[in-house]
């Protein structure tokens, strides 16, 4: 399942997509939990009883601000969350 967390507002689209099929039997040891400097990810049991990564509820409406530090302007060449997730489940829309 592709889970898109985020929103669209007047300034643009801000979605973090998680391919939760890649979270099942995660080969990266749940590295997303520590890879994000703000600790935005958590592991939940989804509606189909699979343990998958999700963006915490408290961050879902403020992604544009919370992720700013990890964008190129913040000195990063790649996103820490996407880099940590070696199965390639995490993507940003912006």
């Amino acid at each position: 399942m592709i889970a898109n967390y985020g929103y669209k507002d007047g300034s643009g689209e801000y979605y973090i997509s998680i391919d939760t099929d890649k979270c099942i039997g995660c080969t990266a040891g749940r590295a997303c939990l520590t890879g994000c400097p703000k600790g935005m990810f958590e592991i939940i049991t989804d509606d189909y009883d699979d343990e998958v990564a999700a963006v915490k509820q408290s961050f879902r409406r403020t992604l544009a601000f919370d992720c700013t530090g990890c964008k190129p302007a913040g000195g990063y060449t790649s996103l820490p969350c996407s880099t940590a997730c070696t199965p390639g489940a995490i993507k940003h829309s912006w």
């Binding site: 399942m1 898109n4 929103y7």
Partner: protein, 297 residues
């Protein structure tokens, strides 16, 4: 209506129905789904995996009370007691506040499952236009979610926005959709779908000489454009199905269909019960699995 009494144009029709052709006393498994949304609450009862009855009403200021009132409506009409129900699943915004629920499941999974029942197993894309949020969902032939996107940051393009316009125009909400077609030329969409700004923009248009119908048409178009931009992010795959209260507004539905270039599947069911129906069906599957595992043990 007495002087000083304000008519509530936004108030939509609450609805309670049971299938008189079915006898719940003959059922092996009775399950219920309770969808406590931000604007409306629904209770659905299924007997042996088939829709038996539902109650759809406005959510009050207390989620547990809303859930209880919703289920009581169907129970009273059917002569059933809460104890007769084998399993109850809560869903929606207030899903964790359903006092008699055995489990909570997100409304995303429940809407997909409900749409699969209401629109058939060929439904692949679902647009849920709720009271205060909007969801675009992809599912497989079993109604299992494969992709979803939700916008709950802003009430634009939602049922609450339409309620505000109904009150502003002083036209009953059920008539808005049809009135929006009664224009000579289709107007441009209002530039903002923000519930707050749309109100002031609509007032500006009225002052500029727009008829009420033209303002409604402009708002319906804006709402359609707003949700279409959301659904296009995950793509549209036929069959396409719309759930939620806005599905009853032909002014928005027809404009969405035109923008997407596809027709939404018609259904004989009330579009507002999709979430609660899906929850009740989840309960049925769970009970079947438990029964099967007990039998195997």
């Amino acid at each position: 209506m007495t002087a000083g009494e304000k008519k509530e144009y936004w108030r939509w029709q609450e609805n309670c129905w049971i299938d008189e052709s079915k006898n719940w006393r003959d059922a092996k498994i009775i399950t219920a789904g309770i969808d406590v949304g931000s604007v409306s609450s629904q209770a659905v009862i299924c007997v042996d995996g088939e829709l038996y009855g539902f109650n759809s009403m406005r959510t009050g200021n207390n989620s547990p009370d809303s859930a209880t009132n919703a289920i009581n409506g169907v129970l009273e009409k059917s002569g059933m007691k809460l104890e007769d129900i084998t399993y109850v699943i809560g869903t929606g915004y207030g899903r964790v506040n359903v006092p008699f629920a055995h489990k909570a499941i997100t409304e995303i999974a429940c809407h997909a499952r409900g749409a699969n029942y209401m629109g058939g197993n060929s439904v692949r894309t679902i647009l849920d236009m709720g009271g205060q949020d909007c969801k675009a969902i992809h599912c497989d032939e079993k109604g299992k979610v494969t992709n979803f996107l939700m916008n709950d940051k802003c009430a634009a393009g939602t049922g609450r926005g339409m309620e505000v316009i109904a009150d502003l125009m002083q036209i009953p909400i059920a008539e808005l959709g049809q009135r929006s077609f009664d224009v000579d030329v289709e107007p441009e969409a209002v530039s903002s779908t923000c519930v707050v700004f749309a109100k002031s923009e609509a007032l500006g248009l009225l002052k500029a000489g727009y008829s009420k119908n033209k303002v409604i048409a402009a708002y319906c178009q804006a709402m359609a454009e707003r949700v279409v931009s959301l659904i296009e992010r995950i793509g549209v795959e036929n069959d396409f199905f719309i759930t939620g209260g806005i599905a009853k507004n032909p002014g928005v539905v027809k404009r969405i269909e035109k923008l997407l270039g596809t027709k939404a599947v018609d259904t004989k069911y009330d579009s507002q019960i999709a979430g609660a129906l899906g929850a009740a069906l989840f309960g049925y599957t769970l009970m079947q699995k438990q029964g099967a595992s007990k039998a195997a043990a």
